[in-house]
């Protein structure tokens, strides 16, 4: 056997991790991989199958087969030309862009205040805000509708979907408060000595430093708002020109004579923006969701 030039020890060949296990452990490892593999199929198969099927001719949906016999784009063309899905996509973007950007900014403001500022009643207010999370959404649903339609006179417009989100959300505030309170205080102290006021500190120091947390909140808010269904249903459910993507998809789902080719293709189109977000912001999405769970 050769000798290692550095240490002087005899060099034996290293066994692979797999080979160095005894038989019981090996079986356990195989079982675990099989288990995970099976699960992967269960989780990903529906989406993959739907994706493949979206390229099938409509007739093929009455037959059985995984791969399209004739690859075609007719489903996509039909959806893009004959339905409102493109318009709905721009509608959706228009509705959610303000709540996402302004809302996260407002939440950041509040988060900064709770993290760094001191004022009378700070803890009481914070506890009260947290308590509102426990109010089930259903209780505010009906009166919100009455208020928006009868009092504010916003019926038939997307305003009820846009305006409330712009004030920020307690959960986002909580998340950002945690993040901001862990930033070093010395920067703020130095800035204050230099004569910067609170607002300047917030905009010029805290915000830039919390970029990753802010991005996480933007992306999570986007996903939540994009996937929202009940809100749009209640307020613009009767005006097809204003539909969001989710509403258009639902409108394709007629109980009689279901056209699965359209439903699946529409779903693929609907997933596209989220999929793109996931490709670019996977890290933030997973980190953000593993802390706060799914967001409405």
């Amino acid at each position: 056997m050769p000798i290692c030039p550095e240490s002087g020890y005899l060099m034996t060949t290293r066994k692979s991790a797999y080979q160095s296990l005894n038989r019981g452990r090996r079986i356990s490892l195989i079982i675990r991989y099989l288990f995970l593999g099976l699960l992967t199929i269960i989780f990903l198969f529906p989406i993959a199958f739907a994706f493949l099927s979206s390229f099938k001719m409509p007739i093929e949906f009455y037959q059985f087969g995984f791969i399209p016999k004739h690859w075609t784009l007719t489903n996509y063309i039909y959806l893009l030309e004959q339905t409102m899905i493109i318009r709905a996509f721009f509608n959706t973007l228009a509705y959610i862009s303000l709540p996402i950007t302004v809302g996260v900014f407002m939440s950041a403001m509040a988060g900064y205040a709770f993290a760094r500022l001191n004022f009378k009643g700070k803890n009481v207010i914070f506890s009260l805000l947290l308590a509102t999370i426990f109010i089930p959404a259903i209780v505010t649903l009906v009166p919100s509708f009455v208020l928006f339609v009868k009092v504010y006179k916003w019926g038939g417009t997307p305003l009820p979907l846009i305006v409330p989100g712009m004030f920020g959300s307690v959960i986002t505030t909580f998340y950002l408060k945690q993040y901001l309170s862990m930033l070093p205080k010395e920067l703020e102290d130095a800035a204050m000595i230099d004569g910067l006021n609170r607002w300047g500190i917030f905009t010029k120091i805290m915000l830039p430093l919390s970029k990753s947390a802010l991005i996480t909140q933007f992306v999570l808010s986007f996903i939540g708002a994009y996937n929202d269904y009940l809100g749009p249903l209640m307020y613009i459910g009767s005006t097809p020109e204003l539909f969001t993507v989710q509403l258009v998809l639902k409108s394709l789902n007629a109980p009689l004579n279901r056209q699965y080719n359209l439903l699946l293709t529409g779903s693929m189109l609907g997933i596209l923006p989220i999929f793109l977000l996931f490709v670019f912001f996977q890290k933030q999405i997973i980190e953000g969701m593993s802390i706060s769970g799914v967001r409405k």
Binding site: M106, F134, V149, N227, L263, S267, M289, G293
Partner: protein, 281 residues
């Protein structure tokens, strides 16, 4: 301080005020066109005497909520396996997470297609191995079908949460247990399960509250037909300008009662958690 003004204003306008309006409305009869008609407890009397559909929907919601503990069990096991010495954790983590990104509407449409009696992949599979095709939306099977779909869509987040929780458990506990000769099941029962119990509590709580208020996938998939799939929020939606017309007073009363039920469930859950949740000392 001006920094918290927008948030507090928003909560006041869109949460606190609606809360009080809801309670007020529940004592009225209101159809949006004429002024609210103050009828005091009539809505509640109707709720607790004649009303059957609402209470059936509560039972349906409880049935649907069975998916939460099922999901917890699966997620815990899957996360445990992923936390053992496995290569490719990141890949599996992403793979299991993907369904969670899909909107409720899309998940529902996908499964509706798979559950189709004639052309759905599930029945194709059943008949190819010689079993009878299943009517996935018969009265008996409708809710189990929805539970399966719900677990499929929700596991991703739970798995992520458990991965984090298991990772935070002190590894030396496992080593000490192995020295004492513990096998996999014992390690799971005495170390893993108590170790992640705070997360279990969180998932259980948010899962139950979410399951009772489940709406989108039921409205898109079955819209309450068969009646075993009628859910509370769907019913409230029907009374709020949906299929049952605009009876906003009654809808509010239903919502208030539902909110109280949810509160009771949350309190009960929190109380029971003392028995089995263990926090680090």
């Amino acid at each position: 301080m001006v920094f918290i003004l927008p948030l507090c204003l928003g909560i006041l306008l869109f949460v606190i005020i609606p809360l009080f309006v809801a309670i007020y409305l529940s004592f009225t009869q209101y159809n949006l066109f004429q002024a609210p008609d103050f009828i005091l407890f009539d809505n509640y009397i109707r709720l607790f005497t004649v009303e059957a559909e609402f209470w059936r929907s509560i039972l349906n919601a409880m049935y649907s909520a069975l998916g939460v503990p099922i999901g917890i069990l699966f997620a815990m096991i899957i996360a445990s396996v992923l936390s053992s010495k496995i290569k490719g954790v990141k890949f599996f983590r992403v793979a299991f997470f993907v369904p969670t990104l899909l909107s409720a509407v899309i998940v529902t449409l996908l499964w509706q297609w798979m559950y189709d009696y004639d052309t759905g992949i599930l029945n194709e599979f059943m008949s190819s191995i010689g079993l009878d095709r299943i009517r996935w939306f018969s009265e008996k099977m409708a809710m189990p079908s929805m539970i399966i779909m719900g677990v499929w869509g929700g596991l991703g987040v739970s798995i992520l949460l458990y991965l984090g929780a298991i990772n935070a458990i002190d590894k030396t506990l496992y080593e000490a247990a192995e020295v004492d000769g513990a096998n996999f099941i014992q390690k799971f029962r005495f170390i893993t399960f108590p170790g992640v119990s705070p997360i279990t509590f969180y998932i259980l709580m948010t899962g139950l509250i979410g399951a009772i208020q489940d709406f989108t996938r039921f409205q898109v998939m079955t819209n309450g037909v068969p009646p075993t799939t009628m859910m509370p929020v769907l019913l409230i939606y029907r009374y709020s300008g949906g299929e049952y017309g605009g009876n906003y007073g009654y809808a509010s009363a239903l919502a208030v009662i539902l909110g109280i039920i949810i509160g009771m469930i949350a309190l009960f859950n929190a109380y029971m958690s003392r028995k089995w949740v263990s926090y680090d000392h």
